[in-house]
Each structure stands twice: as C-alpha cells, then as structure tokens.
Subunit: 337 residues, 2 copies
C-alpha cells in the first residue's frame, strides 16, 4: 500500500467536521483505499461484480439441497436479470459479468462469457476435482476477465459465484489451508438438514483423505478439492490486486478463493474488503486468517456476490464522506476543547 | 402490523429464486415493511432524515470533549451541506430537515426550521432539564415536523440529532427507563478520557439523585434528565408510527428517544428499524429492550442520523430484491430437491 497516500488520507480524516474516529469503519475504508489506489482522495466511478459459474462432481454424493440442474438455470436467470445479484447490482450501479467457467450444460447467451474449462469438476470423493493444469487455466480465465473489465475502466470489483455443491469445495479448501477439521468449516449451504450435514462432512473428509492434497501447496489443494469457479475467482483477485483495484469479497466461497489467493501471495490481503459475514461456519475462520472484518452481518447465505455488492454502498459512503465533508476550518467549527 | 400483507410477503419470499431464508435480514425487513405499510410489495420513494438540534445545560459540568459552541456551528454546517449527514443523505437520496428545537444561540437560515422551545436545557445536575410542559411542547414539534414531511410524501424516515452533551442526557434516560446503573450505559461520547468518563458517570448519578424522576413515568424522566432534541425525536417516532411510516433509528441518542416512545406506546417498536449499533455502551441495552437487531455495526459514534441513513441502502436492497427478483416459476428454476 502507498504510505504517503495513507498518511494524507489519515490527516484529512482528522480535519473533517466530526470527532476523530467517530465514523469508525468508514474512516478505515477511506484510508485503506487511499493506500490501494495511491490516491489520498479515492473515488469509485466504475463498479463490477464477476459471477463465476461451475458445477461440482461431488453433488453425486448428495451434498446439496438443490439439484445440479439449478446451476445452469440460475446462470440463465443471471443473464435475464431476475436473480438477487442482478437486483442488488442495479441498485449499486455495478455491472454484472457472468462467466461459464465449468457448468455441466450447454449454455449460450450473448451476454455470457463462455470460458468452460471442463463440464464440471470430477467427484472429489473419488478422484481429484481437476488437474493442476485445469486449475491454472481457470485462474488464467479469472485474470483475463479482470483485465477485460479493467481495460474498460474499473475502480471496485466484487466476487460472485454460482455452483450447486460449491460450499462443499469451499469447506474442503478451508479445512486444508487452515488445517482444521472439516466439521469446523462445514455448514448447511443452501439448506440441508442434520443428517445431510453429517454426510457432507464425511464426504469432505473422504475427499481430503482420498486426494491427500499438500496443504502447503495452495494449487494442489485448489485442484484436488476445489472448484472451477473458485479457481476463476482466485485469478480475479490476484489480477485486481496487481492493478491496485480493491476487491470486495462476498461470502464463504468467494472468501475461500481469497484464502487461496492469499496463500499464493500474502500481500493480496491489503487489497481486499470483506463484504459481509456469511452464515456458513467456515467464513469467520477465513476472515480471521485474512485479518478482515466484515462490513455487513445480515445472515446472508446466498452467494452470487450479493453481500459484496450490498457492501459497496458502505464503501461508497466511506469515500464520499472522506471527499465531500467540510473541514473544521472550512465550516468554522471548533475542534475538541 | 397488517397480518395479511405479512403473510403475502412471506409467501412471495419463498417463491423467489434463492434458497429459502438465504437473504437473511433482507427477507425480515421486506416482511416487516409489508406489515407496516399494509402493502405486500412495499416500495420506498421518498426518504427523509430529521435532525433535531439542542443544547444541554449539563455541559457546564465538563461532560463533553467539545465546547457547546459546536452545536450551533454544526447546525450551520448541516445547513450548508458540509456535515457527514449531508453527504450520506445525498448518497441515500434522503432529504435533510434541520430543526432548532433548543440551540443556545440565535440561528437564522432559510432552510432551518426554527422551533426553539428554550435556549438549551437547564443543568440537570442541579435542577430539572426542562419542565413537563416544555417536554410536551418539544414532542409536539416532532409530531408537527413529521406531519409536514408526510404531507409532502414520505415513505421512510431516519432520526438524527446534534447537541453537545446529549450522550449524557441519553445515558440518564436509559439508566432510568431500563433501571440500570449509570456506569453501565455511559460511554465516551465525542471522545472523553477515563477521568472525564468517571466525572460524566458521577454527574449522571447526581442528576438522577437530584431530580428523582419516576422511572415508570417516561415523560417525567424525559423532562427531568432528557433533552429537547430527544423529546422532539420522540414526537417524530410516535407520529411516524401512527401514520405507518417506518422509522430508522440512528445511534444511542436516537434510540433513547425510541425507548421513551416505546415506554409511552409499546406497539411503536413494530415500526422501528435499528440502523446500526453504536460504540456507546447503552445502545445495545436499548436495542435489546426494543427487540431490535442493528442492521450495521461499523463502530460509528457520530450521530446526526449517519448510521440510519447508511442503513437505508440495506432497507432499499431488501425491498428491491423482494419486488424485482424472479420467482422459481418465472425463471424456470428448480426448487429444493
């Protein structure tokens, strides 16, 4: 982060007409984004959310409450503007980019970025979800998508995803990279019951035992027990950080991608904001590891980028107060007694 | 609340293209506002924040980090658009109404509603802050201001305030109405140190001992140890609830007004949303009493209505997803397996 811009932003915050520190997290955000963007008066003009969609072979093990057909159905819903992410992105004035990075169905739509690496991952309870080559290819697609958006102008990007079964992959990644038991990072996803949850934990344990990923090798973990959309988001996050574009993480799956990106390149965390705290168990542990405090806690568990895009309003408020408020001198207001 | 509209809103939420409950608090908000507005598809067109400003005689006891001159200075800052509430209200498309309900200075401005009940309260450490008649007059002004806004069209109102020393009044009210020790509900306000905090607690204890308000009589508490801006907000809240206009409470001082309104009329709580959780100690206790869960927790402690207006984006997201998302049937998406 750019120290000079951070110092200037901090100094400005102390001059604005409010008690020092009284805007709490808003002040922190303004200072962080000054450092990210090398601009003491950061401004966000263009916002985007990248929604990466893929299927998961592990759904054959009954880990999800919804059938896998829902992945392509929801992709079409994104493309026709009827999903939660569309509504919330319209509200936040964020462009939605939908990427088929591995949906197990033939999808065609003029607005769809078709970048299918393969038609869903393999069933990780039996074999590696994908090869290392495929994981790298998916990361590369994320980089390409971010570069494409950046070339059109981009000041803030949110991560989003769709993929029936992807909380299972996110839990497996998190268990490996945080080196914690699967049960501590496995939740109910779209809404499974107690028995299904116990099964989901067993399947994740089996996938880890079966594939034995090297937990010190994030790419090995990502390929063996990850997902294509998660790999794609790793690329988005790394490319955004490299271009000094701040990234708003959405929930558990997006944050699992953030965790992989962090394991590959620890400085990436300076460019991240946590949009919200998901209901999913593992999410809090990832955010603690990344040193991120979520901006919202609204008991969301939808994904798609919804929590990240909602948090954009808070980020906008942080930058607007930073830029637009009067200073004590300008307003003729007395400072602290 | 209107049960039929609530049932219709709940039924709609179950048909939208998302796992049931996955939008968390957003779903609760949509259902609550359906009940408040008697409309299963609630919509917010016109937003406002009412900023009530007044002075506090108790500042003579050194309870605040800022000199009392800051009250009129900040009122002028509100009127020229340079304060945090102006910036955040512009972002949220909320009109700002500034009311001088008891500032201890001669203020003139075409945009200012001049409704001075008296030039600041008396020093409650020595005598009653105001008479019961003055408290009732201030409540009446809040009612008048809300009625004026409602007559121009109003769908959502936030409470805001300005008054050096008003966390002292809010703590005293809260200690009385929740029947808890002053030290449990007294914080650092605009930023006092440990010694000043200990003094602030002693002053509140003295004010309560000196005036001996009847804790079962909210008007007695409000008059003896309250503030004019707090009384004004009580009127705003009661009048909004009576007109079925939802109210977003801001932080500790606004919520103290909410607590008085609730003590006067318990059903008022159904019409309230808690914008955020303030750093001020007593705020959490008030929200627990009112059964409200804050929408944001951004370590704000500024007041003015800032947290409430920021929360309007969340409320808007709740209503937009409720209205605009496709249903499973419309989108051809499979429901739960």
């Amino acid at each position: 982060l750019d120290v000079a811009s951070i110092e200037l932003a901090r100094a400005r915050q102390l001059q604005l007409t409010k008690p020092a520190g009284s805007l709490g997290r808003l002040e922190d955000i303004a200072v962080q984004l000054a450092g990210v963007t090398r601009n003491a008066m950061p401004e966000i003009q263009r916002r985007a959310v990248v929604v990466m969609a893929a299927d998961h072979g592990v759904t054959a093990e009954g880990v999800s409450a919804f059938p896998k057909d829902v992945t392509p159905q929801m992709v079409l819903n994104f493309l026709t503007g009827g999903a939660a992410i569309n509504v919330l992105a319209r509200q936040a004035d964020a462009a939605v980019t939908v990427v088929d990075i591995g949906v197990d169905a033939d999808l065609q739509h003029p607005q769809l970025l078709s970048r299918k690496v393969r038609s869903g991952t393999a069933n990780m309870a039996q074999e590696a979800a994908m090869s290392r080559q495929e994981a790298l290819q998916a990361i590369g697609i994320g980089v390409e998508v971010l570069e494409r958006l950046a070339s059109e102008g981009l000041d803030l990007v949110a991560t989003g995803e769709m993929g029936i079964g992807n909380t299972t992959a996110a839990s497996a990644i998190t268990a490996c990279l945080l080196n914690v038991p699967a049960k501590d990072v496995t939740g109910r996803g779209t809404g499974i019951d107690d028995q299904q949850l116990a099964n989901k934990v067993r399947i994740i344990e089996r996938a880890i035992a079966q594939n034995n990923p090297d937990i010190d090798q994030p790419l090995d973990v990502l390929a063996k027990v990850g997902g294509l959309e998660i790999a794609g988001l790793v690329g988005v996050i790394l490319a955004a950080a490299a271009r000094r574009i701040p990234v708003v993480l959405d929930g558990f799956i997006s944050s699992a991608a953030g965790l992989v990106a962090y394991a590959l390149c620890p400085t990436v965390k300076d460019y991240l904001l946590a949009g919200h705290l998901s209901v999913e168990l593992g999410h809090r542990l990832i955010l603690e590891k990344l040193g991120l405090e979520p901006l919202l806690n609204l008991h969301l568990r939808l994904g798609e980028g919804t929590g990240a895009v909602l948090a954009m309003h808070i980020i906008e408020g942080a930058l607007r107060t930073h830029r637009e408020m009067s200073t004590f001198a300008e307003a003729g207001v007395s400072d602290k007694a």
